[in-house]
Point group: C2
Chain length 360, copies 2
């Protein structure tokens, strides 16, 4: 049994974006310090006393950073495995390298899920023209081609509706090693937000209903319409993944809900080994946010409560949306969160609002 | 009409303690940066990218600090007036110097309240033996002698129950210029937490019931048993003070409740021109905390909602209390806040817990 890190300890966070920022703010509530390591200065740098700018490939710098903190965590799943390994020589890395390895590569992730007998859409590797026919046979003609690595928010994706479009789609994503995924005719998307402690205890937030705009999360609504027995199944899937990874921290699993009559009502879309945009509603509708619970887990602390005290709709502020900050800040029942990014580029996540109402 | 400071602006905070820390954390939610100026490094230094250590008497350093930020605020009422004046030459100081001047001196504060026709306990100046007889005549024999300046948390105070004890009490507080206050036989203490915006709008949090241990705030409970018509009167008193000071920010006013049958049901004890310990419950029971509302006000933003979504008991963690952090962090329905102070000295405010339950 590992002892919890005492107050005053330092959490080392790889990544300087808004997720790292909100992790650091949550750590501060608990009397824990945070230090940030990032390849470029970012929003997290403003809320900590110590930030380091360095390449994620610079294992020497990563080692030195890890040596200067008490535990290492990360805000994004594309931390190079060599960096995670270098850090792990100096301090615990939580969640561990296995979660990173699996979630960095869509093909490995889907293979991992399938090996756990979890429901996934049909998928097939596409690394050259030689794979086209087999991939279409496995997935059907209505499908989405996605790069194996580094895609997010709809980037590195191309849809097809006929077998003959696959060649063009492959060109469109620059012939990067890819996965073809069969099109899923789902009713809606939900996500499971599970936090797993150092002792294996698991707690679940309510499953939000997620909607997207242009491939980017737009809203997360709690409660979702997901029927209770399917909520139980969704949590079971999340728990299976977290346990299989020996996971420590907050894990998000996006799932498609196929409808009441479906033989397989929930199909896993993808997982994120980190705090997740679809969990931002917890900041204002729960006593303990996903960020605080992630910090508690990686620090070896008891997990915090995951119940919601209010119903809530979280809406992302993307690009120019943020220019409405003044009106949004005057809205009743609305909590405004801004990430401190200077430039509102199109598609950039600038903040979010949580619109709260009493529990129904 | 002054424009609100846009996101990305910097709030300069005088004072590096837990109040400054929680102000900086609240500012970060809104995409505002904070910079800290303090005579010694403190808990607030850990949550900002820029902190300055310097004497509050060093008006040159204060000027330079004020020049580097967009607005100046403070976490304690004993900011030297010369420092406030130096800062005001470079940036707006909110709340203004008048609030500081009045609240730094118990005699001036009580005189100010009396001039507003607000109810205060009988009081009299005690600066030498020559004042003893008149002070006893004004206040009675059961009274408390308090230093005019720099007392807090029960420090610089001595109780008497007979006229002959006044000389000893005056010696006990080192013959500092003092105020004798007549003993008040109150039922309980409440506080008014009012936030006043740059445009004069005022919003009120619920009045907490406050209890003390050894002169230090122990608990704040919301809702308090204060009857609704007395809540209205308490708010009226808070509003009168805030308006008279042209106040911008969160103002706390401690009041004694004298009981239903009393001709003067509420008597003002003291005011604090800053966020206040008896408002820490707002962090977990309201969508917008006292810290965020103070930041909104000083930044010229619209005020945030002050309604509570939950009932709550706030309990301070003083000195060794903090060593129970592990058990407290595992308590259901409890939010733990630690200030990141290294040493748990007796009487030192180390953190607090908010114990939440659904609104009754």
């Amino acid at each position: 049994m590992t002892m919890p890190l005492p107050p005053g300890s330092t959490i080392g966070i790889l990544g300087g974006g808004q997720l790292g920022r909100m992790l650091a703010l949550a750590a501060a509530r608990l009397g824990l310090k945070s230090a940030i390591y990032s390849d470029v200065p970012g929003p997290a740098f403003d809320v900590v006393a110590r930030s380091v700018t360095g390449a994620y490939e610079d294992t020497g710098a990563i080692s030195a950073f890890a040596r200067s903190v008490d535990v290492v965590t990360y805000e994004f799943e594309n931390v190079p495995l060599a960096a995670a390994a270098a850090a792990e020589n100096e301090a615990p890395v939580r969640p561990g390298a296995k979660a990173l390895a699996v979630s960095q590569d869509r093909f490995d992730e889907k293979s991992f899920l399938r090996a756990l007998s979890l429901p996934v859409a049909p998928f097939a590797l596409v690394e050259s023209e030689a794979h086209f026919a087999g991939a279409i046979a496995a997935c059907g003609e209505r499908a989405i081609l996605k790069t194996r690595r580094l895609g997010y928010d709809g980037k590195g994706q191309a849809r097809i509706s006929k077998a003959t479009e696959l060649a063009g789609a492959f060109d469109a994503i620059k012939r990067a090693p890819s996965v073809l995924e069969g099109f899923i005719n789902f009713e809606y998307e939900v996500s499971v937000l599970v936090v797993r402690g150092l002792n294996g205890e698991k707690r679940f937030y309510d499953c939000p209903l997620n909607t997207h705009k242009s491939g980017i999360l737009d809203t997360s609504t709690v409660p979702s319409p997901l029927p209770p027995h399917h909520v139980a199944r969704a949590r079971e899937i999340g728990a299976t993944i977290a346990d299989a990874l020996g996971y420590v921290g907050l894990l998000a699993v996006e799932m498609f809900y196929m409808g009441e009559g479906s033989t397989e009502p929930l199909v896993v879309n993808e997982m994120a080994p980190r705090v997740h945009n679809s969990g931002h509603w917890t900041m204002d509708a729960c006593l303990c946010s996903q960020f605080e619970n992630h910090v508690r887990a990686v620090a070896g602390w008891p997990l915090g409560p995951t119940e919601r005290h209010s119903d809530v709709v979280m809406t992302n502020l993307i690009g120019d949306d943020v220019h409405a900050w003044r009106e949004l800040s005057a809205e009743h029942g609305t909590a405004l969160h801004l990430y401190g990014k200077a430039e509102a580029r199109p598609g950039r996540k600038m903040g979010h609002v949580n619109r709260i109402r009493a529990r129904g």
